[in-house]
Subunit: 806 residues, 2 copies
């Protein structure tokens, strides 16, 4: 049998550098390889070698525990082997446990090792909570800076500036003398056309300035800091390695630019990027603990918990954060991690609370407590909101993906700074005239969620108070006043603008989250519907559908609840979250009471959106960028067999293998240089094709190189043997090279008749990189994770020429 | 090579009836095989055949889709093959999807099939919620019946009886004329020694009557109805089959006897059994949907959701219920199930709320809202409560397991009725004199959790009101009055009694849950500590530890919160729940504020308890009863290899195999009759030992039987072949029998060098029954789930002569 090599790129599990740089796509700019932050570079050097690992620096010999340095590590843009990583951690754990019986010191080491995970969680929670507080406070201040400046000190935001001012009434509490708009400051006028235009100009100017700063910082210092980061984090958690994506520089730059991007008034939120920030914290803090620094699988457990902490501070919802991590982000999520994630999320939430960025003892601006019960009939409008949310979600995903694809494939992608500036300018110009787009999106959501009290002075609460008694909390439905009608028009315009501009915003080269814009769209739609239903109920309370539960003078409809339900529906339509969405919204409201409307809307929204397109926005972006992500949620439903997927295909030459005791060093080196596969099966003999084990290319190269340097008598004609005992050698033959220690003696195998659905299941659940295929005990071929991904894409008729497969 | 068969019982994956009846142990009384409820028997007949499946009823030929009836089903006390079940469901789904393109009717069928899961969840929620309401109301009434009877109608409980009574003041609202204690009714006296003794006597008499009725009903109609059911449900969800355990009779009898057992005043709760009741609902409702009736894996998804619904109604905690199901009960819990579980849990909670069994719009008696913040220094007593909870949990588990083992191995187990009566009598006699043990345990917990207001008239709130202003909600710490000191003594006695009696109660032949007694123990301890700290702070507010946060006249300590933290700690110590425990307790209290104390106590409690003994009470009972449950949480940490575990062992004869095309019907039948293994590997030839596939004993027997009946010319000398084409036969030879259709062409294989930690992982994650072991491509042996369990037990030095392995 001869081994001329089968189709290039089929065997290796997404390994060779050239091949995988192409995976990157638009969001990952690889010109930045030089910008890997120092901390990560250390790690990188420690764990892998650039350019194929042929240069083993000697200094590493000393401080590595492995017999041959570099064996068992990964290169950048590789998939980790979960089974191997978990085995290594168990070995480490066993060793510590065994040693702990010997001395007190070792026992202390064991205990500290056991608690290091908890300490790490505590640190992550503290750091993530602090950063979230910092971001909240800075963004609040800089958003207000677009409108004016505080004379008491430029570092005060509008609210703090007027905090101690006693010259104003409750109605005008936002207008204090200390706070000057730009027109007041520059031309000492706050009214009139010129003042308006000046304020308009300053608003757009600041927005442009912030945006320019944000995009420049991202471009220069940390290209990975752009976007929401969730698609990449999902990919990383599934076992992919992207060095520097969670590094120190990314953390610093993302924190700064996130504040700038949010303040610039672009239609984006800080919630998604906060997850990225928290994961960066987690990754960086991992370096302090050997247990997590050295093990890719353990580190991913920490990152899952960090993601939970991120959502926890983003929404003030610790339980929701843990469920988000479980449902949306994580890949391998054992129960131990669940418990620790919960701890990290709680610590983060309480850290943020003690910082108290909004001055209301709440973690988010739009926390709300409703008190009026809802009626069963109201489920009809709630379901309508669900349908709207689903439609919007599907529409947004299509539009956004089409635009991102265009950006990637056309000249557009070459001018990211210009793009950001143009979008910021358009957003600013359109936003300023409309009160509801001028304010920050979280404020908008907060106002929309709010249930109008008697003292509320906002336009949205301008109802006609035609009743006599002031019953306190129980406020009956009232007819809308002029202000409400004006607000309706403005909100409708804001809705159209938000819907359109968000499509172009998400995916630009600035940090950008999707939660807040999605929620804003839903909240506007919900509030519009809510006010509509409220007025309908007020003027037509004798209609059969209202009679019986909504008599005159009763408080039946809460427009704020509609806004909240709408927000949940739109968020669900875009992200396809389910339980975590409902729990997050539940934690934002006071009671269990409102779970049912939220659940009805979330379910409808998901069904409607799924009927139009199966993928959520994050999965769509993962596919757009061609990341090697094996979706754990979708069932593989096609009836193909392992033999249809494995390499070599029927028409291809046979599989490239090593024999266990008959190839020379030269043979192996030739094989390595002629092929690019990441590993080779080892068989008893070419004739029998009976499988002995599997050896990784990287380990093989390093070991041979090492042996040639260190071991006497190893020359090109030396026999390499993977057996326990060396084969009988002819006299005067050079000594043979034993490489059994790098041979994986327990490669996973399936038969050629195994249905692909089972193979996909095995890959997912065990986190494999590759699996060997046998027929009647003979080795027949190999299936890599890449082959599986490719096959899934082919079967789904998706992008047959997706980037990954170029 | 010859095949004299290796050690009996090693190869078959816990299959043969004789062997597994022994698994049952004390809690499963197999004399009840005749008592399988009708519904389940139908299913049983449909899905399997008694006595080895040799009698295939002809009538089944018509309505079964499988080519040979019975192939692919399981016998009682067998482990299901998750991979096969999931494959079958995917096949079914594929078929429906393909057909749906053909006609509108098929399309409707597809849509209804997709929504049947949701409908099922709705029904489970409604049924579980209704039953929970029924149980609550009945138990409340019957508990009061022990004290007296309502003259307005015997069906009123004490509270309802006095509901409309206007003759009494607020203080005496429990003492109305319509409600007569037994002494009032029988001898028209409510005071005096004789009246007291009469009430005492009636109390114990009713308790004995209820207990007798409960244990008799369980004995006669549904032996499976006893205990909490959670260990068995865990085992069932992991893939074991116990017919009738979730059947109609179990449901009916468990519902009735649960009410009786709770009312009898025994130290047990209804929360655990409610999970069993909800799972019965789920299982029974599955019969209405083909999709779930026919597929064991799909049915287990439904059961996971039903368990969530059960906890949801037990504690009024839907999110906690889902997390409980995820953390504690379920084995295979895909995200889809998470979402549906949440739906079922919500429906159940709202059904129960609309029934409103406690008249307080809450789902549980001991819902509580605290308003006073806690201080960081209070974490010290909270951690102490955690330590107490952990110690108690470990002590309880040891004591209870020792007692249950004694019950099983001695004469004691033969008199379950007597045992129940004796324990009831002791409980009743000890409980009546003490106010806090006389009341039902949930009422006790409710009172302990309660934060004393000004108007509270209970003994526990008998504080000295030595302040002048009535500030409303803000009540400062006060010195304890005489009532409080009396209550402290009574509570201490109650604590000792509860601790001791619960050990003997849990595991008796009545439905019995552990949550409530555990929480009661913790709540008593917590309240005692809380009052202690409160008085300390009151009298010594100048101590450095109190100064600064607890000045005179401030409300610093909430003893109710201590009770709640103690309850969480004890519950955590017994069950080793983590996230779900905290979330359940969180849903019982008002706000996020109190999560930190709860979490601190739960964490400490788990650490302390784990340090003493690794297993929670449910796992301990699973091991006690020898259920084949492969724990998914514990890591397997020993460094053994597959070759150390596989059968045959080195000294044993070689593996018993079939060849693919050279054995006759007679050869195979001899092999089957001489061995009891549940399946046989098929190899190319004895010499090569190259693996072709795996065939199940049950399928083989049914197919041969079927062929002998239906197929012309199949005689004992016919060759059986598993190949695609029949082997060349000598002239005049009888026609050969092709059995390729029952051959599993994709058996799982590992190499002999695979570490057992990986093998255990594969068994857990993929839900295997058996796995074949190869060496250099040759079949070497087999590892069954039973071998894995046995190995884990051996390595942990646990019960080497555990029942399973006798």
């Amino acid at each position: 049998m001869d081994n001329p090599g089968f189709r290039r790129g089929s065997f290796h599990s997404s390994t060779s550098d050239e091949d995988l740089v192409e995976i990157s796509g638009a969001t990952l700019d690889f010109s930045m390889t030089d910008d890997v932050p120092p901390l990560d570079r250390d790690l990188g050097e420690f764990m892998s070698y650039n350019g194929g690992g042929l240069n083993v620096p000697n200094k590493m010999m000393d401080f590595l525990e492995e017999p041959i340095p570099g064996v068992g590590t990964y290169e950048d843009f590789n998939t980790i082997d979960w089974v191997r990583e978990k085995s290594r951690d168990r070995d480490r754990h066993r060793e510590i446990t065994n040693k702990s019986k010997e001395s007190t010191w070792a026992l202390i080491h064991r205990v500290s090792d056991a608690f290091s995970g908890w300490l790490l969680m505590l640190l992550i929670g503290l750091l993530a909570g602090s950063l979230a507080g910092l971001i909240d406070i800075s963004a609040h201040w800089m958003t207000d800076l677009k409108e004016g400046v505080c004379l008491r000190g430029f570092w005060f935001n509008h609210e703090h500036c007027c905090w101690n001012s006693e010259q104003v009434t409750f109605e005008d509490r936002d207008k204090c003398l200390e706070w000057n708009t730009w027109s007041q400051l520059l031309i000492s006028k706050s009214e009139g056309a010129f003042a308006y235009i000046l304020n308009y100009f300053m608003y757009v100017l600041w927005a442009l300035l912030f945006a320019l700063l944000a995009v420049s910082l991202v471009r220069v210092f940390a290209p990975y800091a752009c976007g929401s980061g969730i698609p990449e984090i999902k990919t990383i958690l599934s076992g992919f390695i992207i060095r520097g994506y969670l590094g120190k520089w990314t953390l610093i730059i993302k924190t700064i630019t996130l504040v700038l991007a949010v303040s610039s008034g672009l239609s984006l939120g800080k919630e998604g990027p906060l997850v990225h920030v928290a994961c960066c914290c987690g990754n960086i803090l991992c370096h302090c603990f050997t247990k997590y620094r050295k093990n890719e699988a353990k580190r991913r457990e920490v990152l899952s918990a960090a993601a939970a902490a991120g959502v926890s501070v983003a929404f003030g919802a610790p339980i929701g954060g843990v469920l988000f991590s479980l449902e949306e982000v994580s890949y391998y999520f054992p129960l131990k991690t669940l418990w620790r994630s919960f701890f990290a999320a709680l610590v983060a939430a309480f850290t943020l609370r003690s910082i108290n960025p909004f001055g209301n003892s709440r973690l988010v601006l739009f926390y709300v407590e409703f008190h009026t019960p809802w009626h069963l009939l109201e489920l009809v409008p709630f379901v309508f909101l669900g349908i709207f949310g689903g439609l919007w979600g599907a529409f947004f995903i299509r539009g956004n993906i089409a635009w991102c694809r265009k950006r990637k494939n056309t000249q557009l992608g070459k001018y990211p700074v210009l793009e950001v500036l143009v979008v910021t300018a358009i957003t600013g110009i359109l936003a300023f005239p409309n009160e509801y787009t001028r304010m920050s999106t979280s404020e908008l959501i907060s106002e929309l969620f709010n249930d109008c009290g008697l003292l509320d002075s906002s336009q949205l609460c301008d109802y006609v108070n035609n009743f006599n008694t002031t019953k306190g909390a129980k406020l009956p439905d009232r007819p809308a006043g002029v202000g409400v009608y004006t607000a309706m028009w403005q909100l409708s315009l804001a809705l159209v603008m938000k819907i359109l501009i968000t499509i172009f915003t998400f995916g630009m080269k600035v940090p950008s989250g999707l939660f807040i814009p999605s929620m804003a769209v839903g909240a506007i739609a919900g509030r519009l519907l809510g006010v509509g239903v409220e007025q309908l109920a007020y003027y037509h309370h004798d209609w059969p559908i209202f009679s019986g539960w909504c008599s005159q003078g009763a408080d039946c409809i809460t427009p704020g609840l509609y806004a909240m339900v709408g927000a949940a529906a739109c968020l669900g339509g875009v992200t396809r979250m389910t339980v975590s969405l409902v729990v997050i919204m539940f934690e934002l409201t006071g009671g269990l009471e409102y779970i049912v409307p939220l659940m009805a809307a979330a379910m409808t929204s998901k069904w409607v959106a799924d009927a139009i397109g199966r993928e959520g926005i994050y999965d769509a972006h993962i596919r757009l960028n061609g990341y090697p992500f094996l979706e754990a949620k979708e069932e593989f439903t096609h009836k193909t067999l392992a033999m249809d997927v494995m390499r070599p295909r029927r028409s291809d030459p046979t599989l490239m293998v090593l024999t266990q005791d008959s190839m020379t060093v030269e043979d192996v080196e030739t094989l390595i240089s002629e092929t690019t596969y990441s590993g080779y099966p080892v068989v008893v003999s070419r004739e029998s094709q009976r499988l002995v084990g599997f050896v990784l290319r990287r380990d093989l190269i390093i070991s041979i190189e090492n042996a040639r340097k260190k071991q006497d008598g190893i020359v090109s004609t030396s026999i390499i043997h993977f057996t326990d005992h060396s084969p009988p050698l002819p006299p005067h033959a050079p000594p043979s090279l034993k490489l059994r220690n790098i041979l994986d003696l327990s490669p996973f195998t399936v038969t050629d008749q195994t249905p692909m659905e089972i193979v996909v299941d095995i890959f997912r659940k065990l986190g494999l990189r590759q699996c060997l295929v046998t027929h009647n005990g003979r080795l027949l071929g190999i299936i890599t994770k890449k082959d599986v991904l490719k096959h899934i894409a082919q079967m789904a008729n998706q992008d047959p020429d997706s980037i990954l497969f170029n």
